[in-house]
C-alpha cells in the first residue's frame, strides 16, 4: 500500500474487479489467485476465454500459473530485478508510452538512466528467469493496449515489499497502463474489510481517509467533531505492539531517524509534548478480530511479549488462541449479526444488515467500542451504524457522499465519492494522479533478510490454502472444510524429499533459527527444489514460530514469504515433541 501511495498517491486497487475481464494482458505477481481470491480469478478465467494473455510471476507453480501463457518462476525475493529487467526490454524495444510519461509522470530520467545501466545477464543471475522468457513477457505486456497488474502478498511480504510495489507501478506508468479503464495496478486485499480498516485510519500514521496525523488542519477537524485532539504523532506498528519493540529491517539495524515511529513528517517527532517514548514497552492491549498468537511472525516473541503485558483484552467471535490468553474477552457478533459496512478490495463500500440475532451475550463491534468508551469516560451516543456513517462522510472527504440510504438496495459505492450526487469512482487516476504526477521510484535488488546456509539449506514460503481462512478461527469450526483440509501440510519438492528419504504423508520437522514445527509432508511439483511451502491455518502447526520479524522499512510488513529452514524426518533419534 505504501508503494502505491508514493508513486500514485493512493494505496488501493486502481481498477474495479470487473475490469480485469476486459484487459488484453493480465500480469499476476505473487498471488495464488485461484485459492485466495476466487472472485478475481474468475475474471481472469473469463478474460482468458476472451483471448487475453496471462503472465504469472511466482516461485510456485500454482493453479493460476498452470493456466498462464507465461509463468516466470523467479527466485524468491528477486521481484525488483525481474521487473526492472522487463522495463529495460520495454524501453529497448521502444514500447514505452512517451506521451503518458511526459504529461503525467515525474522522475522518469532517473529510472531511464538506471535501466540503461542495468545488465540483463545480472538480472538472470538474480532471478533465475531465462532472458528469452523475460523478453517474451516484456513484449506481451509492453504491446498490450490495456494491461492489468494484479499483485498480492507474495509481492508485499518482503523486506523490500514497498519497493516491489513501486517497481510494478513503474512498469504500469512506463507503458501508460494506468489512467484508463481495464488497465491499472491492483493490489488484491486479503480480507473482506481490510481496505475499509485502512480507510478508517487503522494505520499508525493516518486519520480516516488517509489524512496524516501530522497535518494540523486535519487534526483540527477531528478535534472539532470529537471534542478531543488526536495525537500529533503516529502510533506504533503492528509488530512493534505484538513484539514489544520495533522489528529488524532486512537492510541492517534501523537508525532511529528512519523508523516511522520517530518520523512524523514536519511536526517535530519525539519533541511533541505528551508523546510516549517509542522505546517504552506497551502495558495493555485491546485486540479486535485478530489472532496474533498464530498470525504474527516469530510467535515465541509474541507470546513472551504478551506475558509481560499488565492487561490484555480480546474481542472476537470465537475463543481464539489469543483470546484464550486474555484477561477479558468480549464476545463479538459476526458479519450476519450486525449492521454496518464493509469496504472491499475494489474500494466498494457495501452495506450489511443484521440477518440473525447474536448468540448469548455477543455484541456488535460498535456496541463493544461504545460501551468501553463510556466506561473510560467518553460517552459515545451513536444510535445506529448509519449515524456513524454520517460522521465518516462529514470527516472523510473520499467517503463524503457515502450514506447508508445511498448504499441500500444496490451494489454499494466505490470511493472516492465526494458528495451525495457523486456516482462513485470505478477506476482511479483518470486525468491526474492522486498525488498530481505519478512518480517513478528507482529501486535496486535487495536480498532477503535471511539466506540459506549449511545449517538452514531451504527457503520457507508461507501462504494460504483454499479451504481455510487465516488462523482458522472460523473455518476450522466447519466440519466439511475441515474434512477437505484437516492436516497441516508442508509442500516439498520430490527431489528434496528423496534426498532426505521423506515419503509423502510422513511426519516431518521444520526448523528455523527461531523454532521448530511438525507437519505432514506433501510431495509436490508446485514448489521448486530448495523451497518448501506451508500455511498458517493450523494451531497445531504454528508455522509462524519459524518466520522472521524482519520487515519492510517503510510499510513494516514482515517478510512472511522467506526464511531459512532445515527439514528433518520427525520422530527420529533426536525427536522431541513439545
Amino acid at each position: 500500500m505504501a508503494g502505491l501511495a508514493t508513486t500514485f498517491g493512493s494505496g488501493a486497487m486502481t481498477n474495479s474487479i470487473n475490469e480485469i475481464e476486459a484487459a488484453e494482458v493480465i500480469l499476476v505477481s505473487g498471488s495464488n489467485t485461484t485459492e485466495a481470491h476466487p472472485q478475481v480469478a474468475r475474471r481472469i478465467y473469463a478474460a482468458k476465454d476472451r483471448g487475453a494473455k496471462l503472465i504469472v510471476i511466482d516461485p510456485r507453480r500454482t493453479a493460476i500459473a498452470r493456466l498462464a501463457d507465461l509463468h516466470l518462476a523467479l527466485k524468491p525475493g528477486s521481484d525488483i530485478p525481474l521487473i526492472n529487467g522487463l522495463m529495460k526490454v520495454i524501453l529497448d524495444e521502444n514500447l514505452a508510452d512517451d506521451l503518458f510519461i511526459e504529461l503525467r509522470t515525474e522522475n522518469f530520467f532517473a529510472l531511464r538512466d538506471y535501466l540503461y545501466r542495468l545488465d540483463l545477464a545480472e538480472v538472470y543471475r538474480q532471478t533465475g528467469v531465462a532472458p528469452e522468457e523475460l523478453r517474451r513477457a516484456a513484449l506481451l505486456y509492453g504491446r498490450a493496449g490495456k494491461a492489468v497488474i494484479c499483485y498480492c502478498l507474495g509481492v508485499t511480504q518482503h523486506v523490500c515489499g514497498t519497493a516491489n510495489v513501486e517497481v510494478l507501478a513503474n512498469l504500469a506508468m512506463l507503458t501508460g497502463n494506468v489512467e484508463k479503464e481495464d488497465a491499472g495496478v491492483d493490489p488484491l486485499r486479503g480480507q473482506n474489510n481490510v481496505q475499509g480498516a485502512c480507510d478508517m485510519g487503522a494505520l499508525p500514521g493516518m486519520l480516516p481517509g488517509y489524512q496524516p496525523v501530522t497535518d494540523p488542519e486535519a487534526r483540527q477537524r477531528f478535534a472539532a467533531a470529537w471534542g478531543v485532539e488526536p495525537p500529533a504523532w503516529p502510533g506504533r506498528t503492528l509488530l512493534a505492539m505484538t513484539h514489544g519493540r520495533e522489528p529488524d529491517s532486512g537492510d541492517g539495524p534501523v537508525s532511529k531517524s528512519d523508523s516511522p515511529a520517530a518520523k512524523p513528517g514536519g511536526a517535530g517527532g519525539a519533541d511533541q509534548p505528551g508523546q510516549p517514548d517509542p522505546a517504552s514497552g506497551i502495558r495493555a492491549l485491546l485486540i479486535m478480530g485478530e489472532n496474533p498468537l498464530l498470525s504474527d511472525p516469530d510467535l515465541n516473541g509474541v507470546a513472551e511479549n504478551f506475558r509481560r503485558l499488565d492487561f490484555l483484552a480480546v474481542s472476537d467471535i470465537f475463543l481464539t488462541e489469543t483470546a484464550a490468553q486474555a484477561d477479558v474477552v468480549f464476545p463479538a457478533a459476526c458479519f450476519a449479526e450486525k449492521d454496518g459496512c464493509f469496504t472491499n478490495t475494489e474500494r466498494r463500500v457495501q452495506l450489511i444488515s443484521r440477518a440473525v440475532a447474536p448468540p448469548g451475550q455477543a455484541k456488535s463491534d460498535l456496541e463493544i467500542i461504545a460501551a468501553l468508551s463510556q466506561q473510560l469516560g467518553y460517552p459515545m451516543d451513536y444510535q445506529s451504524a448509519a449515524e456513524v456513517m454520517e460522521e465518516i462522510a462529514l470527516l472523510t472527504p473520499i467517503y463524503g457522499g457515502i450514506y447508508h440510504d445511498r448504499l441500500a438496495g444496490g451494489w454499494g459505492l466505490q470511493w472516492p465519492c465526494w458528495d451525495r450526487q457523486h456516482p462513485g469512482t470505478p477506476y482511479l487516476h483518470k486525468y491526474y494522479f492522486t498525488r498530481g504526477r505519478g512518480r517513478f521510484a528507482v529501486a535496486e535488488h535487495q536480498p532477503p533478510a535471511e539466506s540459506t546456509d549449511a545449517d538452514y539449506p531451504l527457503l520457507l514460503n508461507t501462504g494460504r490454502v483454499y479451504h481455510h481462512y487465516h488462523t482458522g478461527s472460523m473455518t476450522r469450526h466447519s466440519a466439511i472444510l475441515n474434512r477437505e483440509c484437516r492436516h497441516p501440510l508442508l509442500q516439498i519438492n520430490p527431489a528434496d524429499a528423496r534426498a532426505r528419504q521423506i515419503a509423502g504423508g510422513e511426519a516431518v520437522r521444520l526448523i528455523s533459527r527461531r523454532g521448530e514445527v511438525e507437519f505432514k509432508a506433501e510431495l509436490s511439483q508446485q514448489v521448486p527444489p530448495g523451497m518448501v511451502y506451508g500455511n498458517f491455518h493450523f494451531a497445531e502447526a504454528p508455522i509462524n514460530q519459524l518466520t522472521t520479524t524482519a520487515s519492510d522499512r517503510r510499510a513494516r510488513c514482515p517478510e512472511y514469504k522467506i526464511c531459512a529452514v532445515r527439514l528433518e524426518k520427525a520422530g527420529g533419534d533426536e525427536g522431541r515433541r513439545p
Binding site: Y45, A408, R483
Partner: protein, 345 residues
C-alpha cells in the same frame, strides 16, 4: 392434464390469501437486496410473489434442507451412543410459482428419496406439500430446459399448472391436491374456452423459440454413453473448477450429503445431515489418504456422468433440468453448460 380453468390475474392475490389460511405458503419473493428467493410468505397481502425473476434457490432447500437435525445423542461413560429423534412438525405447505425445471427436479428428488427407503423426513414433507406450477413464457438468460426436456412448459407432475395469458392465468388441474383446491374454492375459477387452450399452445411454441442459448445436451449424452468424449475435457474442467461446490448446492437435483456430529458438551450432541458435493476432494478421499478421484484430473467427472449418463441409464432421463443456476454461479466456467459445449466440440 385435463380440466382447464381461467383465474383472473386480479384474483390471484385473494386466492393466495385464502390458501395461506390452510397452508404454509412458499413462493418466490424479491427481497430488499434485489434477490428473488423461494421463501415463506407469512402475509400474502403485504408480500406479493415475484413471478418475473428466477428464484436463486430451489425447492430442494425446503424438501431436503441444507442442514437436517437427525438426532440428539447422549454418550454414556462406556462410550455408547443413545439416539433420540428430535420433535418435528411438518406443516402442510403450498409451493406457488414453481417453474417446470424446479418441478421436474422435485419429481427427481421423489425418485431418489421416496421408494423403499426409510427417508421419513423427506416423505413427511413431500406428502404434506402441494405444488402450483407456472409455465415459462420467456426463458431466463441461462436457461436450457428445452434441451433436457424439462420445460419450458410442464405437462404433468404439479397439482395445478398455471400459464400466464396476460389478464388471466390458464389453470390446468394435475394431481388430486389441485382438484381439491378447485372443488373447495370454485368461485375463483371459471372454465376455460377452447381458444384460451389454443393460446397456451401458441405461447408454448413461442417460449421454445425464446432461448438465448443453443445447447446440444443430446450430443453430450450420446457421447458419454458411447464413451467418445473429445480428449482433454475432464482435465480442462478440473483446471477451471475452483472447488466451491456452489453448483451442487444450488442444483435442484444434487442430493449428496454427509453426516456430522456436533457436540454440545462432553456427553451430549446433535447428529446433523449436511449437504455435500462430489466436487469436493474430501468427498471421495479415504481414511489412508488415497483418493480414487484425482482432483487435478477428473474431479468433475462424477458430477456430469451422474447427471447425463448414469441417470439416463437408470431413469430414462438426465437429472439436469436446465435451470441454469450453476451457469450463473460458477466461478471458473466449469458448469454443466460448459461441459456440454466441450463435449460437443
Amino acid at each position: 392434464m385435463s380440466d382447464q380453468y381461467l383465474l383472473s390475474r386480479d384474483h390471484l392475490a385473494p386466492l393466495l390469501r385464502r390458501l395461506a389460511k390452510e397452508y404454509r405458503l412458499v413462493a418466490p419473493v424479491r427481497n430488499d437486496h434485489g434477490d428473488t428467493m423461494f421463501q415463506e410468505i407469512a402475509n400474502p397481502v403485504a408480500t406479493v410473489p415475484d413471478l418475473e425473476s428466477q428464484p436463486q434457490n430451489s425447492l430442494k432447500d425446503f424438501l431436503f434442507p441444507q442442514q437436517e437435525h437427525l438426532y440428539d445423542y447422549r454418550l454414556d461413560d462406556a462410550g455408547g451412543y443413545h439416539f433420540q429423534p428430535p420433535a418435528t412438525t411438518t406443516p402442510p405447505t403450498l409451493f406457488f410459482g414453481v417453474r417446470p425445471c424446479d418441478l421436474n427436479a422435485v419429481l427427481y428428488l421423489d425418485v431418489v428419496f421416496l421408494p423403499g427407503r426409510r427417508e421419513l423426513s423427506y416423505r413427511r414433507r413431500r406428502e404434506n406439500s402441494l405444488l402450483i406450477g407456472l409455465n415459462c413464457n420467456q426463458p431466463f438468460a441461462d436457461c436450457f430446459c428445452a434441451a433436457v426436456n424439462a420445460g419450458p412448459f410442464l405437462e404433468e407432475g404439479s397439482d395445478l399448472q398455471l400459464t400466464d395469458l396476460g389478464r388471466d392465468f390458464l389453470v390446468e388441474v394435475g394431481r388430486a391436491g389441485g382438484a381439491e383446491i378447485i372443488r373447495r374454492w370454485p368461485h375463483f375459477f371459471r372454465s376455460a374456452p377452447a381458444e384460451e387452450r389454443n393460446r397456451r399452445f401458441q405461447l408454448y411454441l413461442e417460449a421454445r423459440g425464446g432461448f438465448s442459448r443453443q445447447v446440444h445436451a443430446d450430443q453430450a449424452i450420446k457421447r458419454l454413453a458411447a464413451d467418445t468424449l473429445p480428449s482433454g475435457v475432464w482435465e480442462e474442467l478440473a483446471t477451471r473448477c475452483q472447488d466451491c461446490n456452489g453448483c451442487a448446492y444450488l442444483c435442484p437435483t444434487c442430493t449428496c450429503f454427509t453426516i456430522v456430529d456436533q457436540p454440545q458438551d462432553q456427553h451430549h450432541g446433535r447428529r446433523l445431515r449436511l449437504w455435500d458435493a462430489c466436487t469436493a476432494t474430501g468427498f471421495t478421499a479415504m481414511a489412508g489418504g488415497h483418493n480414487p478421484v484425482q482432483p487435478g484430473k477428473d474431479k468433475l467427472r462424477q458430477r456430469f456422468r451422474h447427471k447425463l449418463e448414469l441417470d439416463v441409464k437408470k431413469h430414462g432421463r438426465p437429472s439436469c433440468m436446465g435451470c441454469g443456476r450453476c451457469v450463473g454461479a460458477c466461478f471458473g466456467g466449469a458448469d454443466i453448460l460448459h461441459f456440454i459445449n466441450l463435449a460437443g466440440r
